[in-house]
């Protein structure tokens, strides 16, 4: 063993800890989506189930726990989140782009001031942006009487789009500024010189150049809007977005349906990222190949002539995939062998819980009795509370 081995080992260990820290909670949560227990948990593991993804369940104590596909509040929230995200993209991307283009035209000391003002919305707490939007539009809606203004001024989705655009357009602004910094201004001049009007320069030179920035600004704007809570919670008024629905659920006690939702989002993200990466690599390969071919053609020297036949190569990720398959099939057989999947398992678990629940109720009733027996004793604060709520004459002085 040499020092480099130690170094490698430590590096590996560090990476392991780092990624565990990053992804551990997500992985654990993903497993809880498949546990039939009413509360997201890995232990105790009851039964393996998919019901949190579809119908949900009625708990042993009678509480209805909706699954992902039957939870209409989540669906409504998701739809308004998508509408808001789309609206924010449509507003924030052009605003950010316009602001960035203006920045390239400002040449004097004004430039720094303009830049500072432009990025200021990011520095404001989102809560303040949310509240101030609501306050402003409430006034505006009040001014207009009954009509269009008062209608949209009290429309939560409209206000949320406006409020989120305030700071999300700044993200877009920064993306565009970064891209424009590398823009060669002589291209604009060349186009002008060749007879293009300013409008033509904008659409034929600047927009194609900015296309990648437009795409990434749109994605960032949509994601920022989709996951926003602190601004939205104020500006959404009586409506609900996905984040506010989830937040209200958390307050009332979370169900594994949320884990199912999170897992779905994670899966979508991973699929999108992998697809993008595959496409990107394919294009890159194609480009590199054409480039190489071009050089070879140009040089026409056998020295760098290359054989383009590429044999079948085993992808490096194959080991990980094989491991995953083995793990899944082993887990699957274990689940089936121990009767951890299906209705019989769930019924058994429910029965057990129900009996436990009844036992606990009995215990509680007994405790209640013993509490009453102790009434009037010197047991401290609890008793005072009991007295307050027990006293029927407490509020008699508050005549309405």
């Amino acid at each position: 063993m040499t020092s480099s081995h130690v170094m490698k080992f430590m590096m590996g260990l560090y990476l392991f800890i780092f990624f565990t820290y990053l992804f551990g909670p997500l992985i654990i949560m993903s497993f809880t989506a498949f546990n039939s227990a009413e509360f997201p948990a890995i232990t105790p593991w009851e039964c393996f189930t998919f019901r949190w993804f579809n119908e949900g369940k009625i708990a042993y104590d009678g509480q209805h726990l909706a699954g992902l596909f039957t939870d209409w509040r989540l669906h409504d929230g998701l739809i308004s989140s998508l509408i808001i995200g789309g609206g924010v993209v449509l507003l924030a991307v052009p605003i950010g782009m316009a602001a960035a283009i203006v920045l390239t035209q400002v040449k004097s000391q004004l430039r720094d001031i303009y830049y500072s003002i432009s990025i200021m919305p990011v520095l404001f707490p989102g809560v303040i942006i949310g509240i101030s939007t609501v306050v402003l539009w409430d006034r505006l809606a009040g001014l207009g009487g009954e009509g269009f203004i008062s209608e949209i001024g009290r429309n939560g989705i409209f206000l949320t789009i406006l409020a989120q655009t305030c700071f999300i357009s700044t993200y877009c602004f920064l993306i565009f500024v970064a891209r424009l910094q590398r823009f060669d201004q002589t291209q604009e001049e060349a186009a002008l010189d060749l007879g293009a009007s300013q409008t033509q320069v904008f659409f034929k030179i600047l927009i194609p150049y900015l296309a990648p920035a437009i795409a990434s600004a749109a994605v960032i704007a949509f994601l920022a809007s989709f996951e926003n809570y602190n601004t939205t919670v104020f500006s959404i008024l009586s409506d609900q977005t996905l984040t506010t629905v989830i937040a209200s659920k958390v307050r009332l006690g979370i169900s594994p349906a949320l884990s199912a939702l999170a897992l779905s989002i994670i899966a979508l993200t991973i699929i999108a990222a992998v697809t993008y990466e595959i496409l990107r690599r394919r294009e890159e390969k194609k480009y590199a190949l054409s480039q190489e071919k071009y050089v070879t053609e140009k040089a026409a020297i056998s020295r760098i002539d290359k054989d383009y036949k590429v044999g079948f190569k085993i992808p490096k990720g194959i080991v990980a995939i094989i491991l995953l398959v083995i793990l899944c099939s082993y887990g699957g057989t274990q689940i089936l062998k121990n009767d951890l999947y299906g209705q019989s398992c769930i019924d058994a678990a429910d029965k057990e819980k129900k009996s436990k629940f009844l036992d606990q109720l009995q215990v509680l009733e007994q405790n209640e009795l013993s509490d009453e027996e102790l009434g009037g004793g010197n047991l401290g604060g609890n008793l005072d509370y009991g007295d307050i709520f027990g006293d029927p004459n407490l509020f008699q002085d508050f005549a309405f």
Binding site: L192, D193, G195
Partner: protein, 365 residues
């Protein structure tokens, strides 16, 4: 179709700085005209004033006797080739070339036809579908020219377009540019700090210094009869010898220097009197190693410092008794094995091949 370009009293100021000062010059239609000067002398500013990117603070730009003030760059009959070429990297070669037609609403088939014609002109047939980054430096250069020629401008403006190329390519492109100019027969206005480029390509050149025109004329005239010490030392190389005028006899002048009295020539319109401070200029190629039967007007005793071999010529660096540095060159065919560092020799030059000018700053100062 070519057009005259006239600058009348054009000044361009940035704050209190004069980028161009009172420039008046008339460029004939179909001429290959160069502005030559060191960097920062205002030549690019002049070009931008002609193309319309820079409004003159004073004076007028006239193209075809029409005042261009208030007319934007996209409405002028000029095309500019930028120093960095400014090709559009996201378009193919054909799209680049046909861009000016596209913005004028020419149909796609006509655009393609014109692009193919121009590709043939620049000897890049069949390469129209390539992206710009797949081209070599010289090919990019030619595409930029084709793009500028697509709408048949009356004046083509070139802003040091060869400066990014390597030496061989630059030399080849000089010839090509000249040929293209003859073929399309439009006015070329060329900007460079490289006097070799200016001299080989141009019909006439204008030498600029600090925003002002020093001299305008045909290449050989500017080279052989410089009007100012700046032009004498900026265009080609020159050895200055400082002194005072001793006598003036028609065109022949005697100058009294610490290293002796030399006979030299004076230009028609140079105003010099006896006892004025003056500089005699002798080019390195006009200084000869005298043979016994040679009879030169002047003899210049020098001490050799060093020498360099350039291939076709050998350059010798020497100094006079007074310390003045002298450079002279000898064709490689002449045997110089007897000249060693430190040896004293006499060089000869004719009064016809030397020019005398009033004392003023040099380009190499």
């Amino acid at each position: 179709m070519s057009a005259d370009v006239e600058l009348s009293n054009v000044s361009v100021t940035f704050g209190s700085f004069f980028a161009a000062k009172n420039v008046s010059v008339k460029i004939e239609g179909g001429e290959f005209f160069s502005f030559l000067g060191p960097s920062g002398c205002g030549k690019t500013t002049l070009l931008r004033a002609i193309s319309g990117f820079q409004d003159p603070s004073e004076g007028n730009v006239l193209i075809d006797n029409k005042d261009m003030s208030g007319i934007g760059p996209n409405k002028r009959p000029t095309a500019l080739i930028f120093q960095n070429l400014a090709l559009f990297p996201l378009m193919t070669v054909s799209e680049n070339i046909a861009f000016s037609l596209e913005v004028r609403g020419v149909s796609k088939t006509d655009r393609q036809k014109r692009a193919d014609e121009l590709l043939e002109l620049i000897a890049l047939e069949g390469q129209g579908e390539k992206k710009v980054h797949q081209l070599s430096g010289g090919q990019k250069q030619r595409v930029a020219i084709a793009r500028a020629l697509a709408v048949e401008p009356k004046v083509l403006l070139l802003d040091e377009p060869l400066s990014a190329l390597d030496l061989k390519l630059r030399q080849r492109m000089r010839t090509e540019l000249r040929e293209i100019q003859k073929r399309v027969n439009i006015t070329f206005i060329y900007i460079t700090h490289d006097q070799g480029e200016a001299l080989t390509m141009s019909d006439r050149i204008a030498v600029m210094n600090e925003g002002e025109l020093e001299q305008v004329g045909p290449c050989d005239e500017v080279y052989n009869n410089p009007r100012t010490p700046f032009v004498a030392t900026f265009v080609g190389e020159n050895n200055p010898i400082y002194g005072r005028i001793k006598s003036i006899d028609g065109k022949t002048v005697e100058i009294d220097t610490p290293d002796g009295i030399f006979r030299s020539t004076i230009n028609d319109n140079t105003n010099l009197n006896i006892n004025d401070d003056a500089i005699a200029f002798v080019r390195p190629e006009s200084l000869f190693l005298p043979r016994s039967d040679d009879n030169f007007d002047n003899s210049l005793p020098v001490i050799i410092d060093s020498f360099e071999f350039e291939g076709n010529i050998k350059n010798f660096y020497a100094h006079l008794k007074s310390g003045t540095k002298i450079k002279f060159s000898v064709p490689n065919a002449i045997d110089t094995s007897h000249i060693k560092n430190g040896s004293s020799i006499n060089l000869g030059f004719d009064s016809q091949k030397s020019i005398i000018l009033p004392k003023a700053p040099l380009a190499i100062d």
